[in-house]
Symmetry: C2
Subunit: 201 residues, 2 copies
Amino acid sequence: MLVLSSPSGAGKTTISRHLLEQDKNLSLSISVTTRPKRPGESNGEDYLFVDREEFNLMINRGELLEYAKVFDHYYGTPEKPVLDSLSSGHDVLFDIDWQGTQQLAQKAREDLVSVFVLPPSMQELERRLISRKQDSSETVEFRMSKAADELSHWAEYDYVFVNNSIEESVTHVQSILNAERLRRRRQLDLTEFVKALREGQ
Amino acid sequence: MLVLSSPSGAGKTTISRHLLEQDKNLSLSISVTTRPKRPGESNGEDYLFVDREEFNLMINRGELLEYAKVFDHYYGTPEKPVLDSLSSGHDVLFDIDWQGTQQLAQKAREDLVSVFVLPPSMQELERRLISRKQDSSETVEFRMSKAADELSHWAEYDYVFVNNSIEESVTHVQSILNAERLRRRRQLDLTEFVKALREGQ
């Protein structure tokens, strides 16, 4: 379970898309949200778009691994697709914020690897928010004022880097993913292999 | 501080050589040993070759980070070159066995990253020991009988993989190295960077 967090606009969604293209063993966890669909987004691919009532039902039925309120809207992670991916041997990528990460860390602990992506500068962050043309200038201003708060949580993550270029950042996350897959505690099947080696087989 | 351990012949020396060629931020810790120089080895490059008396002096003067007896000979890690490399901003690669790793882990803890390389099979291990023509058949036999004991320590390491090909293995260790450099606790200089970001600079 790999979490990628950052202030809005720092590039985590672009990094995620590149990673999912090049690493076929990685599946994206599609979050559910009550926020309105932006132009170009599609339901079930970018998010599951639901209304407040449906979101509450999901909470009450215990279907969410984590959920949080961000910018007046609710965001959550449906549990079933994650468990299905994990049990089919896939690693799961989560594009969530620090609130979701804290909740996920409580449930997953050893299984969770968390990465925080820093913007190179606040000017660059604002430039990216404006250039993606998804938000009103009012929303951009609001996101910028929230970014400072989001940044304050960087030290709760296992890994951190500055997103100077998408290519470099994708390589960073792929290295983290490759390395974490080689962790001894994730390769308990090697116990049998080493036992056979030692018995001279 | 990156430790690479394996039974003799599993390929750690070849992997190390490739790593040092491609990663200019990595320095090799040259071990000191009392074992005789093999054909093709050079003093100060493969090992520092000393006699038993000189080795004892180094122990008594507290010049060794770790030392251990392996196959009737002594092996140790001189401390000064390691500290010099680290303080010049280099990462240091250690080609040492489980005994050295345990001692180093006691001294370095958080700073140490340890990797165990497994041979694909015992037949392959024997083939490699024979083909490198460095040891008498008696020594090969002795090394094979020791390999099973060395393998028993694989679970004390942070990372582990099977050396199926040199190329794949070098990529594995480079990923581990890249990822560990991105660990938040190794990037305390980012504290100032994030502080400046949050203050809008």
